[in-house]
């Protein structure tokens, strides 16, 4: 079956993409830095489209500035617009940092952003917060190079490379979680605190993109990783960096190479084993055992996995989304006795197949069909052949779930057709517990609604 499926995948065009573009990922990352306004160097449309896309998921204001290039700028270079735009935005927003991400347009016309920014710093007079020039972070993120996932990592890497300095050891811990939900970020900070660790989590958009109601529209939302802390990441005792794709580890590697910060490269802590790995790393770093309540959460998760195992026995799932998320979910599904029949991603970063194989090894009965670089047209095609019982992924797979009349367990980003996407929790024992309950309930609900009996007890 495997070779038969693989043969057909030679599509030239993309139909219903299973990815967004690099600049979008960079914007999310930059929203997680204290006082930072994302700034797209390109045409006005990019910023507006991404704002709409992000607002639909987070239901929060997402201000993204743009250099709004016009036809002349594309011919003569976007430098003047970038500089003018920076002055305008910094003065109005009193930004403490600006996350400048490039777009297809400015990469193609060959604008040298680092050089333009250097000129700007020499020439410009701005009235940022306290009359100071904000930190200007630059990331190269053309849509044609990779997906939003790689764009996110590029922004994190740029932030670390451009702001973090080799400083004296301070015993804190760096956490680089990758693209996770605000609820996940809050959880990770809580866990680190429970281990008595002072954590610098980058990027921390848990408040900027999931803010409490306030008295006003916050021009610069509170929260975000403090700039002072980012500067000191080079002095941390260790870095915990989540993700299997090469891009996810680059910032951590940079801190290791430049500043000698010990790097713990882990997968996304989804499910039992990956969470175990995270807690083990935290025990090593903090030199203390996991606090009792986390051990209890692990115990409750296991208890639930026993209680629910028969509901899931023999179930087949299709998983799709960003590569790191998919690998984490595949690991979790294999643990709970669900056969991931397809693991798919729009991304093409190295190691996808190998990592899926590794995390599912010994737990699944059939080999897992894995395909990077897919779109939803291809996923739908594979679903017709693989006949999954349910899907796990973001909102964009709904079309297929509806067509096949199977449940879609919504995870990750974007959640455009449900409420509370930013509050979905995936990580650690507690996140696994929430995921587990939702997966089991999706299966039960399907069984219940398909039955003519109308069971009130299942």
């Amino acid at each position: 079956m495997k070779s038969n499926l693989a043969e057909k995948c030679d599509y030239v065009s993309s139909t219903n993409a299973c990815k967004a573009c690099m600049s979008l990922g960079a914007c999310i990352a930059f929203k997680g830095i204290e006082g930072c306004v994302p700034f797209l160097h390109g045409s006005q449309g990019c910023a507006t489209y991404m704002r709409r896309y992000l607002i639909s998921h987070f239901r929060e204001p997402v201000d993204i500035a743009s250099s709004s290039l016009g036809e002349n700028d594309a011919v003569f270079g976007g430098g003047p617009n970038l500089k003018q735009g920076l002055v305008n935005m910094i003065n109005k927003y009193q930004a403490k940092a600006v996350g400048i991400a490039t777009t297809c347009l400015t990469e193609t016309i060959g604008d040298n952003v680092p050089a333009i920014v250097k000129e700007f710093l020499n020439e410009a007079k701005v009235e940022g917060a306290g009359g100071k020039m904000p930190a200007l972070i630059q990331a190269s993120t053309p849509s044609y190079a990779a997906t939003h996932m790689e764009g996110f990592h590029a922004a994190v890497k740029a932030t670390v490379a451009q702001l973090a300095e080799p400083v004296a050891r301070h015993g804190g811990v760096n956490i680089l979680p990758g693209l996770v939900s605000p609820a996940d970020i809050r959880y990770l900070l809580e866990v680190a605190a429970d281990f008595g660790l002072r954590a610098t989590l980058l990027p921390d958009y848990s408040r900027p993109l999931d803010a409490p109601a306030g008295t006003s529209y916050e021009i610069l939302p509170a929260g975000g990783t403090p700039l002072a802390d980012i500067k000191k990441m080079g002095g941390a005792a260790a870095t915990l960096s989540f993700g299997w794709t090469p891009g996810s580890q680059e910032a951590g590697r940079d801190l290791h190479e430049r500043c000698g910060v010990c790097l713990h490269s882990l997968g996304l802590p989804i499910g039992l084993r990956q969470s175990d790995a995270m807690f083990e790393a935290l025990e090593t770093i903090s030199k203390r055992p996991a606090p009792a309540r986390h051990a209890d959460e692990r115990g409750r998760l296991l208890d639930a996995m026993v209680d629910g195992h028969k509901y899931l026995s023999g179930q087949k799932a299709v998983v799709y989304g960003e590569q790191d998320l998919v690998i984490g979910l595949a690991s979790f599904l294999a643990e709970i006795g669900v056969q991931p029949v397809l693991c798919a991603s729009g991304g093409r970063s190295a190691g996808f197949r190998e990592n899926i194989e590794q995390v599912t090894q010994g737990l699944v009965r059939e080999p897992v069909f894995t395909e990077p670089g897919v779109d939803f047209y291809r996923i739908a095609e594979l679903c017709r052949e693989l006949k999954p019982d349910f899907m796990v992924g973001n909102s964009k797979g709904y079309v297929i779930a509806r067509e096949r009349d199977i449940p879609l367990v919504r995870v990750g980003f974007p959640i455009h057709d449900r409420f509370g996407g930013p509050r979905l929790h995936h990580l650690g024992y507690r996140g696994a517990q929430e995921l587990y309950d939702r997966v089991v309930n999706a299966v039960i609900e399907k069984k219940q609604s398909d039955s003519s009996v109308g069971y009130g007890y299942i």
Partner: protein, 456 residues
């Protein structure tokens, strides 16, 4: 607060009621560094052509532009739903270096046989011209190969604003108009331009017109079909709503085929009734006029009792609106008036000088008129004018909510029909639902003092 208004944009505001003569600057490139609520040329083309349901819409460029426009609008189709797919050539790094023509050709050869569309629109994005792709040539060859019109839409994002995209879309559609047979089209016939059938709105309007004895030839573009566009020149009249987006097509059709046009709006009871009367008057048909009058009477009777009850709650509340095109703003101001509400801020992304002048003339004194606003400016005026309800799109929603202000989505994503008489009632219900929610009693900015007393 005035600190938040850009000096460079001061001429893009106007407050009515003073002794200054009307003056506003508009149709300019957005200010760099301002967080404009506007989109780009591509967006303009995409929104206009998108609802043509039996055409293939292929976006030639890197993936972003296709990802962000996949099935985001509520434009319904009564038949094929090809428009709900998001097709892209998904250009990669090597395509950018070596050119994307080959990939575009192969993508068309793959998609056209697969989906059997009646026509294909190929949208150019920012980099297409820059990497030297000749879209016209590729489309011409594909037309010959596949025997369907393959039409390039010259919509590079940076080449102007959304309005330029409307124009590119109209030019693309005009290539289809006049290529079909017009036999059998009755004299009392119209095309509906500038309605996108959001939540089935165009079906409401078609039903009204049918009741008056008027035949609709082509929906342009809501629930649109290629074959209808081809024979659209056979209609006696073009009804142009949302004047920004399809006015150019109406003008092209007038120039080439002599088809006259009327500007209409189906939003709000006043403008809806007026649109039907204008059609009857155009055809100089006494019967149609009588039918229109009966229709308006019947439909109003259906919604009036409920409307009256809603108005009782809403009377005196203050509204703000920020919409894509200024023409929609006129109707909304009248609709709010019908609800007893006052409009304090009216703005649009792409209005023209004449639009804004007309807008200013129908607004009450003290109303702020704004072109191409951004979140800081909108926030400033929402607070200054102490607004209760804000009408806009998804990007405006969090601005309202964070300020503790009600919100009504009047953009392309809406799932609620707001046109026609039934739409007027839906609009009123929607405004009522948000304005009268108890949630505003708890949000920090508006929390009632007495509530705190109760809590204490």
């Amino acid at each position: 607060m005035s600190r938040l208004i850009f000096e460079e944009r001061k001429d893009q505001f106007f407050e009515t009621g003073g002794d200054k003569p009307f003056r506003i600057s508009c149709d300019k490139q957005s200010l760099a560094g301002a967080v404009s609520q506007r989109a780009c040329v591509f967006c303009g083309s995409r929104v206009v052509l998108y609802p043509i349901a039996d055409a293939l819409h292929l976006i030639h460029g890197p993936i972003g532009c296709a990802s962000y426009t996949w099935d985001i609008r509520g434009a319904l189709s009564s038949g094929p739903e090809l428009h709900r797919y998001s097709f892209s050539t998904d250009l990669g790094e090597t395509d950018v270096i070596f050119g994307g023509e080959g990939k575009l050709t192969r993508a068309l050869d793959e998609l056209i046989p697969r989906h059997q569309p009646k026509a294909a629109f190929v949208y150019s994005t920012c980099i297409v011209g820059l990497i030297g792709d000749d879209l016209q040539a590729v489309c011409k060859k594909a037309t010959e190969r596949h025997g369907i019109p393959v039409i390039p839409v010259m919509s590079e994002g940076f080449k102007g604003n959304k309005r330029a995209g409307y124009y590119a879309a109209c030019k693309a559609m005009f290539q289809l108009v006049g290529t079909g047979a017009t036999e059998g089209i009755p004299p009392m016939s119209v095309n509906l331009l500038g309605d996108f059938n959001l939540a089935g709105e165009i079906w409401i309007i078609r039903e009204y017109l049918e009741r008056m004895g008027v035949t609709v030839v082509a929906n342009i573009t809501g629930d649109g079909r290629v074959a209808d566009l081809r024979r659209a020149h056979g209609a006696a009249l073009n009804l142009v709503q949302c004047s920004g987006s399809t006015m150019e097509l109406a003008k092209m059709m007038q120039g080439t085929y002599g088809t006259p046009f009327l500007r209409v709006s189906y939003l709000g009871a006043d403008d809806m009734a007026q649109a039907l009367y204008d059609v009857a008057e155009f055809f100089q048909s006494q019967t149609a006029m009588e039918k229109a009058q009966d229709l308006v009477r019947e439909e109003l009777a259906k919604i009036y009792p409920r409307l009256k009850r809603l108005r009782k709650d809403l009377e005196g509340k203050r509204a703000a609106l920020y919409v894509g095109g200024a023409f929609k703003a006129f109707s909304l101001i009248k609709a709010f008036r019908l609800l007893g509400m006052k409009v304090m801020l009216a703005g649009s992304q792409t209005g023209t000088q004449e639009d804004y002048e007309e807008l200013a003339s129908i607004c009450e004194p003290g109303t702020v008129i704004v072109d191409d606003a951004n979140p800081l400016e909108l926030m400033t005026y929402l607070i200054e004018k102490d607004v209760d309800v804000f009408v806009g799109g998804v990007k405006e929603r969090p601005i309202a909510y964070k300020l503790g202000i009600g919100f009504c989505d009047h953009n392309h994503e809406r799932k609620l029909a707001l046109e026609g008489f039934v739409g007027m009632l839906n609009f009123a219900e929607e405004i009522h639902a948000t304005a009268m929610s108890p949630v505003w009693r708890f949000t920090p900015r508006r929390a009632l003092p007495e509530l705190e007393e109760v809590a204490a």
